[in-house]
Amino acid sequence: MRASLLNLDYLLPEWIVCGTILVLILSYLLGTTDRRRLADLSVLGLVTALFFSVVTFFEPAVVGRVSIGNGLLQVDPFSQLFKILFLVSTLAAVLYSAGSVEIHGKRWMEFNCFLLGVTSGMMFLASSMNLMMVYLSFEMMSLSSYVLAGYTRGDPRSTEAGYKYVLFGAVSSGVMLFGLSLMYGLLGTLDMGLMAQRTALAQFPDLHLLLLPLTLVFVGLGYKIAFFPFHYWAPDVYEGSPTPVTAFFSVGTKAAGLALLLRLLLGTLSLDQTQAIPWAGDLLAFLAAMTMTVGNLAALNQANIKRMLAYSAIAHAGYMLMGVAVLNVAGAEAVLFYLFAYMFTNLGAFTVVVALFNLYQSEQVDELTGMGKLFPLASVCMAICLFSLTGLPPTAGFIGKFYVFAAVIQKGYFVLALVGAINTAISLFYYMRIMKAFYFREPKAEMLAAGPMPCGYNVLIASLTVPVLIFGICWSRLYEYCSTSISSLIAH
């Protein structure tokens, strides 16, 4: 493992993202106010960062894990894979927000800045190896998110969403910070690498003392990933936020939380190898089951498509938590694969919602009828994404669920698998309700007046849906990358 104070060149993706923020501000001050132009700048920055993330994923030095800032951050395939995920979601977010009516032109530049701010926070979080860095990047991510949630000033629901988000978030991060402080005290160091060594050698008498701090940190993570019983903010905040922002939250911040959770449980505490904390798996399994069930059941009653998708996001967090609950390599790989499948699927579905909102200013499922006739391409893609969310072959969602269920069953959590299966069946109902509205009902008369779907949205939706199908048929390569990441995570 290379350790050097100034390995800052490995942080090139982060540099680029932060640099893009500065470039955006500068160019705005220098007169570029055109929405398109600014979007191009963001896209350029993101694509460059994405390129470098991919490059560093394969670089041998990174495979051997590079430590930056003397243990503050670590660049390894695990972190780079997550960064790729974050950057792709942000890229999609910029693209579909560019045409969104919910983000007004005058505030577009700041919107991009905040979006990139969240992204950089997430990227640092994926690489963090120091409790201080963890908290710093966590807050960096959260603070920008709070603003994004409340971005549409004209809409009281957006303001309320932002308010609820910041309130709940502040409380949760306060709890988490307290936990972090206790962890610091118990293990005597802020460095997670050193912590790993100390817990491995059990240099302190009783690991049970870690129980309290871990639970508190877990609360904070639970809030971010939105699983039971810390998820209550999510439906309201997702519903109230501007739709592009909701889409971004449902993938990006969730993934960031999972990255940290995996890093903590498998990397630092090595729970896949030690039996030191035997209760962890059962507890996680229980919470996963509850999350899935609550998410899926609540979604049944929703008439607002955004709220429905919010609950669906909670349910999917539950499926992913199942993969974490098994506390082994197979489960972690499954979670990572699921995240990728979920990212494309969710972004695809939400882009359709954004596009439809642009045209009709409606989020009610009952009002968006007959879309199948009006927008054939978008509806087909929506259908594919919904099938993927349910977990039907030949979509990536099915493969993701397959791997998660395989890991769960192999570990022996049969009841959990059964709950998961029942939940998948329940989820079919509300996803298909959308399909029913799209295809089996006639479009309302006033719908026909609105224009055609802009070509850009069609392209974006299609390009997000194609990976869903591709990874449903030919997924081995992606799974290999996930394996590489996880093995770099657990190596010490």
Binding site: V171, S181, G188, L190
Partner: protein, 114 residues
């Protein structure tokens, strides 16, 4: 100066934390909740400073503490900013009055079921 050891600090921190939680859970005024949050964050800070003195890695701990103060301040800024917007929209900052977004209790809702 008398050395009082680590424990009193931890006790104080925990007490502050619990008081903070209590504040968050029971006050209707949003500023009150903010104060509760600040209490929680500062409780953690006390912990950190105390640990840095007694347990190890003194430099890291102190930097951490300063960072926390910074972040707490930023958080408060954003909180208050959004609170301003809430006040503009809702004419109140009481937490239970700001609840447009919720799940309707399904009774005789006309919406379709699968």
């Amino acid at each position: 100066m008398q050395v009082i050891g680590l424990t009193p600090y931890l006790v104080v921190a925990s007490t502050l934390f619990c008081l903070g939680v209590f504040c968050v859970l029971t006050r209707r005024n949003s500023i009150g909740i903010l104060i509760g949050v600040e209490l929680m964050l500062n409780a953690a800070n006390v912990n950190i400073v105390a640990f840095s003195r007694y347990v190890g890695d003194p430099v890291g701990g102190q930097i951490f503490a300063i960072l926390v103060i910074l972040l707490a301040a930023s958080e408060a800024v954003i909180f208050l900013g959004l609170l301003m917007a809430v006040y503009q929209r809702f004419d109140t900052i009481e937490v239970d009055k700001v609840s447009l977004l919720k799940d309707e209790v399904p009774g005789d809702d006309a919406h379709e079921r699968a």
